[in-house]
């Protein structure tokens, strides 16, 4: 009794990734970045990052080159659609073997 | 009158201060050693000017029955016009006391089986320096004169305490004058 175990007696959540599981499994298509077209990669300095801005799932890093966390990327394709240089293409997941999928 | 258990019913109008008057008497009774004091206003949708009732029960022992008074020992009527609107003697014990604020002469009333006490509290209060229509402190003087419950001094003290920020001396003066001028008879 008392308040000692209070937290265990309520719906008290603490934060962490993957509440929805490994949401990368939701993906039908995978975004693939062509670094030869990607603006920050080409200029080798911080620039553009539109893919990072619009990513609903916080899976694209604001780095050179931008990296996509495939464990959680749901494959919505917004990054591909919004990329001003069409550096990102959505590729059918079926083309990647499980082995490759895990490595990425 | 049995002074172990006294029931007083107050008839006034909404806004006239019957509750405050009853509360002053209740506090004086409690201070005088009555352990049981219960004051219950009319329950419901009180509106300014409409007739209202307040029950005051005073007992030597704690009161457990909070139901309204059915057979009062005393009724206090703050406005003589209420006699036409309400059955103020309803349930009044034989020989019970009616305290009436009225500009009319004592002789113009006749209540069989009851003792009447009258005073023109409205005029007395103005004389004491209160605004016209403030009668709830003056009437306490008449009540004490007619019923002789607690002694006038403790009531005057109670009035001054209750009205400590609102003309305490004038209010107690109204009660003192009323105490002196109340006409009581059999």
């Amino acid at each position: 009794m008392g308040t000692r175990n209070y937290r265990r007696k309520t719906s008290h959540s603490e934060h962490g990734p993957g509440d929805g599981g490994r949401t990368g499994s939701w993906r039908v298509e995978r975004p693939v970045i062509d670094q030869s077209l990607c603006i920050p990669c080409k200029r080798n300095k911080e620039a553009c990052f539109i893919c990072w801005l619009f990513c609903p799932d916080v899976v694209i890093s604001r780095t050179i080159p931008p990296k996509i966390d495939l464990e959680y990327c749901k494959g919505c394709g917004i990054c591909a659609e919004e990329c001003p240089t069409k550096a990102i293409t959505m590729v059918d997941e079926a083309k990647f073997s499980d082995e490759v999928k895990d490595k990425e | 009158m049995n002074k172990e258990f006294i029931e007083i019913r107050w008839h006034g109008r909404g806004g006239q201060g019957a509750i405050t008057a009853a509360k002053i008497v209740a506090e004086a009774a409690f201070t005088s050693g009555y352990a049981g004091v219960v004051m219950a206003p009319t329950f419901g949708t009180e509106r300014r000017g409409a007739p209202v009732m307040t029950s005051l029960k005073i007992s030597r022992e704690k009161i457990y029955d909070l139901s309204p008074i059915e057979t009062p020992d005393v009724v206090v009527v703050l406005d003589h016009l209420l006699l036409k609107e309400a059955d103020v003697t309803s349930g009044l014990k034989p020989g019970g006391i009616i305290i009436l604020n009225t500009p009319m002469a004592f002789e113009s009333y006749s209540f069989k089986d009851y003792q009447l006490a009258t005073a023109d509290i409205t005029a007395i209060s103005v004389e004491a320096g209160l605004p016209h229509g403030m009668v709830n402190t003056g009437i306490i003087g008449s009540l004490e004169k007619a019923a002789g419950l607690l002694g006038i001094d403790i009531l005057l003290k109670g009035i001054e305490e209750e009205f400590r920020t609102r003309k305490p001396e004038k209010n107690s003066m109204a009660a003192r004058i009323a105490y002196e001028r109340t006409v009581a008879g059999g």
């Binding site: 007696k9 | 909070l66 059915e70």
Partner: protein
């Protein structure tokens, strides 16, 4: 110090003494004077609290829920339809385990409109997971409010302090107002195990699954069912905590007794009247009258209705010839809720012992219908002579 005031002021003074930090309320008769009085204390600087003028009762409890979740001692009060309008928040506060104290100034519920007293409002909230206390006079109101904060915060369970509208809320009588120092000694500042804050972020009361689930540290967390079970279990355990509260209160304030039941001339009684609130004090007058007639009767007020003190009740009523339940509410389509609960407790503890009393049920004072003491006495007497009816009997019904 003894003062003469009405029941609503007794409640407000209790809240002030307990140093509630956030008060939210919406006007409804006959509760309004409680929170009006609190607004006076706050505006005059006599009480340090945030007073929130909400736009509904639903929001009044919402403010208390959020404030309590952030670590404040909170208070609200309501009556009747106001309580019904809060209903989902009432349930929420219990499920979130927030020690909110709320006065319910008992009033009939609509339709049709009625502003007078009965207890259908709080009885309708019986199953919400709150502790329910019922008061019979002003001393119990102020004492119950103070005890309620201690108990609520010990148990992490909200409490309704219920008292009869008008009959107690607007009636003046003397009662003792405890000293601030002693209340402070009784009731330490509210220190919740967790209060919302950015340094230690948590997400409270989100969707909780039917089954258990792993948390971020890899430990198994409860499912919805476990959380609700624990509310029930703790509510049952609160009976013991209430006894502690009563004991501590008596030590510090010199007042107290049985935490759950208030019995009058019951020990040698053959028949015992049972009820909630001020009617149980009125029944004392009937008991005295019937005793003079040679009928051995007593009366027992149930002060603690949820959690239900079933064992204490069964113990007190064991071997009585009859139990007569006087109620100001009912479970429409059956009988008074208290009568049902009593029967259940008696059956559970006394079935087969040969000491099972007969239970009869009277319904009285619905929608403020005046309860005459003579009528109570008359019906009480009749119920000691024979079984009047299987169905609950409505006292004073003019059909």
């Amino acid at each position: 110090m003894h003062i003469i005031e009405n029941g609503n002021v007794a409640a407000a003074l209790g809240v002030k003494l307990c140093r509630a930090a956030v008060i939210a309320a919406y006007p409804i008769t006959p509760q309004t004077p409680v929170t009006e009085r609190l607004s006076e204390y706050v505006e005059a600087g006599e009480m340090k609290a945030e007073y929130i003028h909400v736009e509904s009762e639903h929001s009044a409890l919402a403010v208390c829920i959020a404030a309590s979740s952030t670590g404040a001692r909170t208070f609200t009060a309501t009556s009747s339809n106001g309580l019904l309008y809060m209903h989902e928040q009432v349930q929420w506060a219990a499920g979130a385990r927030l020690p909110i104290v709320m006065c319910v100034v008992n009033r009939a519920i609509s339709a049709p409109w009625n502003v007078w007293n009965d207890q259908q409002d709080s009885i309708s909230q019986r199953d919400t997971g709150w502790i329910q206390m019922y008061c019979a006079d002003h001393q119990q109101i102020i004492d119950s409010v103070i005890k309620a904060y201690w108990l609520a915060e010990k148990a992490s369970i909200p409490i309704m302090v219920c008292y009869d509208g008008y009959i107690l809320s607007h009636t003046y009588m003397p009662f003792d107002v405890p000293d601030q120092e002693r209340v402070d000694a009784f009731l330490p500042p509210f220190q919740p195990d967790y209060a919302l804050n950015p340094k230690e972020p948590a997400n409270l009361n989100t969707v909780t699954l039917p089954d258990v689930r792993m948390d971020v540290k890899g430990e198994l967390a409860h499912g919805y069912m476990e959380i609700r079970y624990l509310l029930h279990e703790d509510l049952r355990k609160t009976l013991a905590v209430a006894a502690d509260a009563e004991k501590r209160y008596a030590e510090i304030f010199g007042r107290g007794g049985d935490p759950y039941l208030e019995s009058y001339r019951c020990d040698d009684a053959d028949y015992v009247a049972v009820g909630l609130g001020s009617i149980t004090y009125q029944l004392r007058v009937s008991v005295d009258a019937l005793r003079k007639e040679g009928i051995n009767v007593g009366v027992m007020g149930v002060r603690f209705y949820r959690p239900f003190p079933d064992a204490a009740i069964a113990k007190a009523l064991k071997g009585k010839k009859g139990v007569i339940v006087f109620e100001k509410a009912l479970s429409y389509g059956y009988e008074g809720a208290l009568a049902s609960d009593l029967k259940s407790a008696l059956y559970e503890h006394l079935a087969g012992t040969g000491h099972l009393p007969l239970v009869q049920n009277f319904i009285a004072g619905i929608g403020g219908r005046e309860i005459r003491t003579d009528d109570l006495t008359h019906n009480f007497r009749a119920a000691t002579r024979s079984r009047i009816a299987k169905e609950p009997v409505w006292i004073g019904l003019k059909l």
